[in-house]
Symmetry: C2
Subunit: 353 residues, 2 copies
């Protein structure tokens, strides 16, 4: 049995962008496993934009973390020891392990992951929560139809890349938005989007207008900010806007200066008969089996490609989350916390390149 556990805890509530001082790396005992429990070892930890919201005091769709609590996060883990029916040592699971090397679980929120579906880290991305977010938000709320134009930002990321590729499969013209020329090239050439714009270059609104000559029918909202501002005037009548994230706002400490554009947005909703709907992935958990079947099929057919951005070492998680919120990752951001026992299995049918 392992003896030492390492954890990263919330040390302070960030003001704006988080800094290293907002996190604390702590070494402690590995907890022991009672009846009806199991001990899990973290292999891959997922970093996601929503984590920034949990660091705030205000209420969102989940209660905030308390100061001193272990940072929350989904992970792929291995069962080390089990006193819980249905789980055995060696099982690979997707579980809310948090930012730590070992955790005790009573099975809540834990799901076994079959390594035959693909690399086990995909359970945190295209075959996991971000993939389900993309699939359900796009198909249930976005309702893409052939020949419509869809726009999605963070297009090289875990959610955006899947949104755009599924929309292509459904017959849409798909425009991505990403940060930097390298990501844009990847989105266009590797993922097969019709075009991809660099939001860091000048004149986004004008360039977007040029590549959307017939307007925008579906905007999958996961960033907000300047991208939303460029999209809003181009939305067509009856456009659908699934609202899944607002990463551009997460570090904001207050509202921007005026004028107050809330009435402008309401007027657009009315005059163009727009449909905005917010969602989180758990709202559509019942679609998981259909999602897994569809997306693993599309992966195997090569119709969906997927890129990961993996960094080694739990101690690097704070810096990588800060980078993620700045858009510095390139692909689904993952921290490799421990050894992957399946890493030498061949998964050629599933890899992106």
């Amino acid at each position: 049995m392992p003896e030492k556990n390492r954890q990263i805890r919330l040390a302070a509530r960030p003001q704006g962008e988080p800094t290293a001082d907002d996190f604390e790396l702590v070494e402690c005992e590995v907890p022991s496993c009672g009846s009806g429990q199991m001990l899990l070892r973290t292999i891959y930890l997922s970093l996601d934009p929503y984590m920034r919201g949990r660091m705030n005091a205000g209420e969102s769709y989940a209660p905030p973390l308390e100061i001193g609590q272990v940072m929350e996060g989904g992970a792929v883990g291995e069962v080390v020891e089990s006193k819980l029916r249905g789980f055995a040592a060696g099982d690979i699971v997707i579980a809310p392990l948090g930012w730590q090397e070992y955790a005790i679980s009573d099975g809540s929120g834990v799901e076994k992951f079959d390594p035959k579906l693909g690399p086990i880290s995909y359970g945190l991305g295209v075959l996991g929560m971000p993939g389900l977010t993309a699939y359900t938000g796009l198909l249930t709320i976005g309702q893409p139809r052939p020949a419509e134009t869809l726009v999605v930002a963070a297009a090289s990321g875990a959610v955006g890349s899947v949104v755009g590729q599924i929309a292509r499969i459904k017959g849409c013209r798909v425009i991505g938005i990403a940060g930097g020329a390298e990501k844009c090239r990847f989105v266009k050439e590797e993922l097969g989007f019709d075009d991809c714009l660099d939001h860091r270059a000048e004149g986004l609104e004008e360039r977007l207008r040029e590549v959307c000559p017939t307007g925008i029918d579906v905007y999958f909202e996961n960033v907000g900010g300047a991208v939303f501002d460029a999209v809003l005037p181009l939305l067509n009548r009856f456009a659908r806007i699934p609202v899944c994230g607002l990463i551009a706002h997460y570090n904001a400490t207050g509202l921007p200066e005026g004028p107050d554009r809330l009435p402008l947005l309401m007027h657009a909703i009315l005059s163009k008969r727009l449909a905005f709907r917010g969602f989180i992935v758990s709202d559509f958990a019942d679609q998981t089996p259909q999602f897994r079947a569809d997306v693993s099929g599309w992966l195997q057919e090569g119709r969906i490609k997927y890129r990961e951005d993996i960094t080694d070492g739990l101690e690097n998680a704070p810096g990588e989350l800060i980078g993620l919120l700045r858009g510095e990752n390139f692909g689904k951001k993952i921290i490799r916390v421990g050894h992957d026992p399946t890493a030498h299995t061949a998964h050629t049918a599933h890899t992106a390149d």
Copy 2:
């Protein structure tokens, strides 16, 4: 055959609230009726908030009126002479006659109205466009469920009164908002809403919070402005907001001062998984038969009550529209332009009081 026609035309585009000078009363010849046409006589003209939008130059869901054009408006009319198959002299019709005593029509947008359904003026209200707006927006987008709380403003008006009464029939707790104690008393005592708040009194947000202790599940948006601001913090998770009008904004000449609350609204949509959807009544025209059947049934059972605010004389339409935009009407605003040949028919089953 009549010889003189009177029309009210758009004389100037209003800056903010319209004034009498923005309208021009013109006397002209009664047009003659060619083959495939009919001559219609206006009996009742409907005044509605959307007319303010048509007076602006900017595009909305319909093209703007040009200066010098006859003001648009729905009306109940009588066929004077018909060279159009399917219509005969004496027929009562609902038609887009505009603000004038006589008009030529080729039948576009004209619908016969059966006087047996109720007073023919009801075809402009509870049994016409405002009623269909209330019915479709509430049931299709609002999706009210038993024991939920619904809020609607302009609650004594043509749309709001029907929204609230149908929501009551569907088992909701219904809170109205109206302007002045007399309207509030009517909404509560005559229409049977659970409560009604006067938006002219102080502390609307606080009073609304008191009467919605379990939050708001459906907000039927037809006013915007201060009412929306009071509603937004009280919206429950998964609340639905059909957006049908924004009368509080129609006279606005620019955006309000900051801060910019657009990100605040987007954050609420995301964190509470709200669904906002704009619509206009023609989007749901296919529901008209079901609407007519349901609402005329509820009228006859006394489960829906309806109040009109009728003013005589075409020349009074401009002043009455200005008053409507200020909320001075009490009930569905109608101008009686000409004699109602059905006025002595008994319709006791349909009248409000």
